[in-house]
């Protein structure tokens, strides 16, 4: 391993540590990341769930894969808000004047968000089991599904990194990210089957990354042929990571030109 790589790893760890500490000390961010999906669980499990019939499956088992996806998608908004906060406060300017690895600012932020997402997903699995969720296909299937969720979460946080670097302030970042996340989460079969939506909406809803993720999760958790759905979801996550990772890196490199 070269000295430059060691520097990059050490700086990434330092920045990630800073972001995790910041997260712990702004409890509203953690609350937003966990309470909100919990409310969705309670709403859909008990308030709406009785009226929703999904053939061939217990509704709670249908619901939870959607909740996992929703939780990390909403959480990604925090990445955009956090980065634009740093941008405005001048901390990113200071980082640019330090003899640190360039990549560490973004890699550290997304690493911290990855750890936060692992936490959020773990909490949501616990909540799911508490309200009657069971993984019919066994622990391995559930673990694989959660790995897909985390992979998607990582890609989404790079997308929000790219966004956060391009908007002027945290409010704008939030305003830009929220509609996109809502659109993706609610047009997908996250809580109800997209087949119940009108055709034009269904066409969009079934051809986007959140839907692909939820479909792959369900196949892995409930059982059945999963390979195709898993590949599609991985392709989405990989593609998002590649495109937005490059965009974010380019935005960061171009700052100050």
């Amino acid at each position: 391993m070269t000295a430059a790589m060691l520097t990059a790893f050490s700086d990434t760890a330092a920045v990630a540590g800073r972001n995790l500490r910041t997260l712990l000390r702004t409890p509203q961010a953690l609350v937003f990341a966990t309470i909100q999906p919990m409310i969705f669980v309670l709403l859909f499990r008990y308030a709406f769930g009785g009226a929703i019939r999904v053939p061939g499956v217990n509704y709670v088992d249908y619901l939870m894969p959607g909740v996992f996806a929703q939780a990390v998608a909403f959480g990604a908004i925090g990445t955009a808000v956090g980065l634009s906060t740093d941008l405005r406060s001048g901390i990113l300017v200071r980082f640019r004047t330090l003899p640190m690895a360039r990549i560490a600012v973004l890699a550290g932020r997304t690493l911290a968000d990855l750890i936060r997402n692992l936490l959020v997903v773990a909490v949501m699995v616990g909540v799911g089991f508490a309200v009657g969720f069971r993984a019919a296909n066994g622990a391995a299937g559930l673990a694989a599904a959660l790995a897909l969720v985390v992979a998607f979460a990582y890609a989404a946080s790079w997308a929000c990194t790219a966004l956060g670097l391009r908007v002027s302030d945290p409010e704008a970042a939030q305003a830009a990210a929220v509609p996109v996340v809502f659109l993706l989460v609610f047009t997908a079969s996250s809580f109800v089957p997209a087949t119940a939506m009108p055709g034009w909406l269904q066409a969009f809803g079934t051809h986007q990354p959140v839907n692909a993720l939820v479909a792959a999760e369900r196949a892995l958790i409930l059982g059945g042929p999963a390979a195709r759905d898993v590949l599609i979801s991985l392709a989405w996550s990989g593609g998002i990571l590649l495109v937005f990772g490059l965009l974010a890196a380019r935005s960061y490199a171009r700052m100050g030109r």
Binding site: T7, S10, D11, A14, V15, G17, R18, R21, T22, R25, T26, S89, G90, I91, V93, R94, F95, R96, T97, L98, P99, M100, A104, G256, R257
Partner: protein, 310 residues
């Protein structure tokens, strides 16, 4: 090691259609304090941003200890410290955590960063607040922490962008003391300011910039002597007495202005001219009840410099 710590040659930078720097050139001798003085929008922040590698110039060159700020940016970052206009510290970390983080990112080892953070907290009077979150700090404490954050790797060249703007007088004096101490220990300091007083107190050399160009340069004393006007405001017992004093002064070759019981006298000769003014009045008019001296301000010097150009 060359005698010039910072060399700026023909820097140009535009933001869209706004020309921020228009061929700026100056040099900072090693170990000295240079004050970059100018009104808002004159290009001060742009200049220090370029020198501290946060911003790239469109044209021109700048070197720090012979290293080019664009081509050798990575090496430049090892020898500079930078504190921007807004305290760029994390409000959700403690003072100690902030410094330890910046120390690690400044290539100190983990242990060394911790030691150095402790030292700096001590020398900036923040030891008692070291383990409190920065969001509970006052503005002055944040600024001190921000300055400390620029010093972790003991940079020989330090850039400070309006370090005291928005601070109360006490915090301002404390920061001035810190800058003086750094300068005494051999650090080259380039600071921007809107206050002539600040440049006067701290700087060996002053560069006045306006519209991205050098408008004047010299020691603070030279600049004021050359371009400044001192105002003496004399207060008298009443308007009629003031009127008498006015005529006496006019006869003595001064150009006094009366406003009620007050008389204002201008002098290009500096504060020392006050003795002459008082001597001119002695025995010929009643003594003034109050005397105030207004030193030349950046406005005066600045106006004088830009008028001279036109």
């Amino acid at each position: 090691m060359s005698d010039t710590a910072v060399e700026v040659d023909g820097l140009r930078k535009a933001f869209g259609t706004v020309l921020a720097l228009d061929g700026l050139s100056f040099r900072v001798p090693a170990g000295s304090v240079l004050g970059l003085l100018g009104p808002n929008g004159s290009g001060k922040t742009t200049t220090v941003s370029i020198l501290s590698t946060a911003l790239r110039p469109d044209a021109g060159q700048a070197t720090i200890g012979g290293l080019d700020v664009v081509a050798d940016a990575a090496r430049v970052r090892r020898v500079i410290g930078f504190a921007g206009q807004f305290a760029a510290v994390d409000p959700n970390l403690t003072g100690r955590e902030n410094l330890t983080l910046i120390g690690r990112l400044s290539r100190l080892g983990r242990a060394q960063a911790r030691v150095r953070a402790g030292e700096l907290l001590g020398s900036f009077g923040l030891t008692a607040a070291a383990d409190r979150l920065v969001r509970t700090y006052s503005g002055g404490m944040r600024r001190r922490l921000d300055l400390a954050a620029a010093l972790l790797h003991r940079p020989p060249v330090l850039f400070l962008d309006e370090p005291t703007t928005g601070l109360d007088p006490e915090s301002r004096f404390a920061l001035w003391d810190s800058v003086r101490d750094l300068s005494l220990s051999g650090t080259t300091v380039l600071l921007t300011t809107q206050y002539l007083e600040e440049a006067d107190t701290l700087a060996d050399q002053v560069v006045i910039i306006a519209a991205g160009k050098v408008a004047g340069t010299g020691t603070p004393a030279q600049l004021k002597a050359r371009h400044g006007t001192v105002l003496f405001d004399l207060g008298f017992a009443g308007p009629s007495v003031a009127e008498t004093a006015c005529s006496v002064l006019a006869a003595g070759g001064y150009q006094p202005d009366r406003d009620g019981a007050g008389v204002r006298v201008r002098s290009a000769a500096g504060s020392a001219a006050l003795t002459g003014v008082l001597r001119a009045l002695e025995g010929r008019a009643p003594d003034p009840v109050s005397v105030a001296v207004r030193e030349p301000t950046l406005d005066d010097v600045f106006r004088s410099l830009t008028e001279g150009e036109g």
